[in-house]
């Protein structure tokens, strides 16, 4: 080892190197030192520039992902009628079952580590007996101007061509910037490896990937259901109408009050487009300009 190092060091022996060059050409007497420094510097700087410019190359790829086809793609949206909703929690459990959302357990629940893709948000005001309270189911709002998408450093979350704010589990590095940036706190992090007992593993839905520890997960508008129904229809040559999608996501399907409606916002005749025009319609935190694709209906507006 020592000898090896010795010989390696010899390469940089200044005297010898200078002698070497002196013997061949006396003009470059002081060249080597300068050149080496310059070379090293140039190398370092080019490294720096590579660092700066490599990501830029990916912008091209990024733009390609949003291919602009001629066919108008649907833009999925959801309308939740709070006058109908009784906050029974059917949507919450249905979502859990459909999307393999892990159970936190008593200890982790105490530490506020629970994951709900669909959660019920509660607000309360007033004193007995003039109390007012409201519960509202809140999935990911799938904002058109999503604060979470802008901040993801690796493109693990993006807005799909059909308007779904998607999370690609396999790319997520778990920096939790998106969870922090989301003004609705509708993104969840796998603090620990999700645990299923051997028996509960039977229940896992094969259409939805399970998430490993350390990644962020969120509502997907049950896009696997959309894909499934669409493939089925395409192969069987059927046309899909708004009816097929109206109660498609697991939460909408489960809702006993049918308070959740789903559909294509680009289709002016769809139920969601119709409901969205209702005077009762409002969005959560409209003033932030996130432009959510989840619309709420309520006769008296929810105080924010």
């Amino acid at each position: 080892m020592k000898k090896l190092l010795a010989s390696f060091i010899r390469l940089f022996e200044p005297k010898e190197r200078e002698e070497r060059f002196q013997s061949s050409d006396s003009i470059v007497t002081e060249g080597p030192a300068r050149r080496t420094i310059l070379q090293y510097l140039a190398g370092a700087m080019s490294g720096v520039f590579a660092f700066l410019y490599i990501p830029k190359l990916f912008v091209k790829d990024l733009l390609n992902q949003h291919s602009t086809g001629k066919v108008q793609l649907p833009k999925w949206g959801m309308v939740i009628d709070l006058d109908k909703c009784t906050t029974c929690g059917g949507c919450v459990v249905s979502c859990r079952a459909e999307n393999n959302v892990p159970i936190a357990g008593a200890d982790q629940a105490d530490k506020a580590r629970m994951i709900f893709w669909m959660d019920i948000l509660v607000e309360q005001e007033g004193e007995y007996p003039d109390i007012k309270m409201r519960g509202m189911p809140t999935p990911c709002n799938h904002c058109e101007n999503a604060p979470c998408v802008k901040v993801c450093p690796v493109g693990a979350t993006y807005i799909s061509e059909e308007g779904i704010v998607a999370q690609i589990w396999a790319r997520c590095i778990g920096c939790r910037y998106c969870t922090t940036a989301c003004p609705y706190t509708r993104r969840y992090f796998n603090w620990e490896a999700p645990q299923w007992s051997e028996e509960y593993k039977n229940q896992l839905n094969p259409d939805v990937a399970t998430r490993p520890k350390g990644v962020v997960e969120k509502c997907t508008f049950c896009h696997h259901r959309i894909r499934k129904i669409r493939e089925q229809a395409k192969i069987e040559g059927q046309a899909l109408t708004d009816e097929n999608f109206r109660y498609l996501p697991a939460c909408a399907q489960a809702c006993p009050a049918k308070a959740i409606t789903f559909g294509d916002l680009n289709n002016p005749n769809s139920e969601v487009s119709r409901l969205k025009k209702s005077p009762r319609a409002f969005h959560l935190q409209e003033e932030l300009g996130t432009n959510p694709k989840v619309t709420y209906l309520r006769s008296a507006k929810w105080k924010e």
């Binding site: 090896l4 291919s67 990937a209 493939e231």
Partner: protein, 193 residues
């Protein structure tokens, strides 16, 4: 490792005798060779560990023979045109023909042995996609009219069952390349679940 890197003394002597400039150059190439050997070794080791060519299927199934008999892929891999998975045929499928002895393959009677014991043939699934990838055979075969061989290689000429993944060479880039070529969306949600 450290000892391995020691210079052989004879070489060092030679190096000392010859001029420095030349010696330096020789030494560099010597390091280069060493590096190539080490790197090559590492790569070989990794690829050896990585490849799982050790799978032995329970029955030496002859694809070529079956195709020659006029069968199609879909005859056994029944769900190719109907579902997401191509599916490995079950024993019932085999017994449609093989309830009586056919041909002369020494593995062929095994089918009936399994049937007698009431067991399924424990085929080992080698083609697997990661759990977060959605790949529908139906869509690619029926809608895109792809040929099985495009991913699975020439099974028609194969006389033995698959022992290693044939789709291992498929990377996400390859999927996306093809999608781009045929003007299919490369939206992440198209294939990720």
């Amino acid at each position: 490792m450290v000892y391995f890197l020691y210079l052989p003394s004879s070489y060092e002597n030679q190096f000392n005798r010859s001029g420095r400039y030349k010696g330096n150059r020789e030494m560099r190439s010597w390091y280069f060779i060493l590096f190539v050997i080490v790197a090559g070794g590492v790569i070989c080791a990794v690829s050896l560990i990585g490849s799982k060519d050790s799978t032995t299927q329970p029955i030496q199934f002859n694809h070529k023979r079956h195709i020659e008999e006029g069968m199609n892929c879909v005859d056994c891999h029944k769900q190719v045109e109907k579902g997401i998975h191509a599916t490995i045929p079950n024993l019932k499928q085999c017994l449609l023909c093989h309830s009586d002895p056919q041909g002369s393959n020494k593995d062929e009677p095994k089918i009936r042995e399994y049937a007698q014991r009431g067991e399924e043939i424990p085929w080992i699934q080698v083609n697997r996609l990661p759990g977060h990838v959605y790949f529908s055979h139906r869509v690619h075969i029926v809608m895109a009219k792809m040929d099985c061989s495009e991913c699975h290689g020439d099974m028609k000429g194969r006389t033995n069952p698959v022992t290693s993944s044939q789709i291992g060479h498929l990377s996400m880039d390859k999927c996306m390349e093809c999608h781009k070529q045929y003007n299919v969306s490369n939206d992440c949600l198209r294939c990720h679940k």
